[in-house]
Amino acid sequence: MATVFMKWLETTPGDYDRGIKLLTLGRGARVQAHITAMVHEGEKVLEIGCGTGTLALMLARQGAMVTGVDGSPTMLRVARERVDTGGLEEQVELHQLDASLIADHFDPGSFDLIVSTLLFSELPPDEQRYVLRAARRLLAPGGRLAVADEVVPEGMMARLVWAAVRLPLVIVTWLITRTTTHALSGFPAILAAAGFAPRVATSYLGGSLQLFIARPAEEMADERPPVPRMTHRITLRSLLVNLWAIFFRIIPPYPKVRPGLYRVGEPNSKSPVLVTGNFDLTVRRVVRQLDGRVDCWLLVADSAGINVWCAAGGGYFSAEKVTAAVKISGVEELVAHHTLVLPQLAACGVDGRQVHRETGWAVRWGPARARDIPAYLSAGRQKSDAMRWVTFPLRERIEMMLVTLGFYGLFILVPLAVLWRPMFWPVTAALCGLSLFYTIVLPWLPGHDGLAKSVPLVCIALAGLYVYSALWGHLPPHSIFNWTVGLVGLAVFTGAELQGMSPLMRGEQANWMWEGVIGTVLAVIYLVGSRLISW
């Protein structure tokens, strides 16, 4: 179930293109036409974030030699197909590359025009600056930069109108295509700080979609902004985020921390550099363990707002992300050593040797849990086996139970409350009872994964039903039949889903098909059986 939901959340390239069209109310095409009119035949163009290649193809048809980079392999697959069908292989070259890595992959001064649409608004400010500086180096003398993006309009009234129009558009677009965008503010200043002299070439939709054209300026300000400090504080926001995370953790948008370098305490050039993902809860839990105990640098890498283990297992927290974090942050200017301490649970997704190869920083695998970091550091970066091994204690099982119940509350109980009112409370009680029971006895149930563990759960649930019926309830046969089918379904479901989706239980991801099959069989049994009984 959760897997099906997660799959639905994934944006396909088609979804993305449709989503952008909706959000820009079709003005994206005009911006692309405007950019295309800027190029001359034979010019070398770099498109950062080329997506499915729409603009790259337009530029190539205009006679330009286009290099397109994008971080998403699925987008690039579509772009490649389109280049092939268009017969433009000679003119378009595509690379799978995050924007932050362009500086290392192309020679300085190799492009006449660098273009980018709707990319910078997706990047945190540090990364915007970093990519812009890289772009400045890649431009040939006389070269120019064209950036089209969504912009928060200037002025109070314009902003209010913009927000009022945009909000419903954003919600509808997200529901149809799971695509959303953000809007830049203060971008001309960031362009100027990165060494460009920008002007707004054209703007659409009341100034909320703008095309900036910029040429490298003579001078380049090169000031490092101070590294922000993180402290452990309980605020209204943190309480609300915790509450959200308890029940609806797997429903986006995930609460995120802006990726980048932070300091905890008063670190100096010898202090350790710890790396973590950018899920809000993860960062706060790490800081809570460190603040007041350890002085260190905390490098928050972009893990798409997902916790370390799941993000690493799912390909969102990778060597590329850590490499990008190291480079963008400029952490090497602040410390005298070259050692990163990564969370051990990132090891299933972050290739440590690749990080070393690409950054020159050595990777040490820290403890699995944030609470062991102070002890690990004070022991001279030595771990005990207890720091290595993951357990699933009652406290965490209860947390997992609440996350799962929050999700199924939405997907089972809300529809029941609307469509089948009399079944709402019985199902709620059964779901909560089974979940709580399963949460407590999980370690003692036989079997390696949730589906196997659901067999004893089914037996216990049915035994409970029959004992209750025989001693107190004296339920009529059709009612016993209905409850039997319902409880088997709920017990299998609980068993398979509630183990969480971490690799620890080789989880739900491997089981959801079986859930589907068992659910279908039960539905058939119910439909046939209830007819037979009433007949």
């Binding site: 799959k7 390239p13 649970l345 695998w365 991801q509 491997a510």
Partner: protein
Amino acid sequence: MSFWESMFEHVELARKLRYLRIYFDPQRCVGDWTCYEVCPVGCWTPDMEQHRAIFHDAQRCIACGACALQCPEDAIKLTTPGRL
């Protein structure tokens, strides 16, 4: 790729997930022990005398793939039985 196509692709993955296991070639092991450092369930033990790692307790393995990804000598593979 539509939602249904990607769902269908995931059926294959889900099937594979059930049968993934670790294949270890001790001949290639150089005793780097990163596998031991990163295993969250304690499947690996360093053998100090032989200067190599020992994979034991395959029952406990959760097929997370950390050891396979970090092994400097590619001595560890995480795959399904047919694929080796």
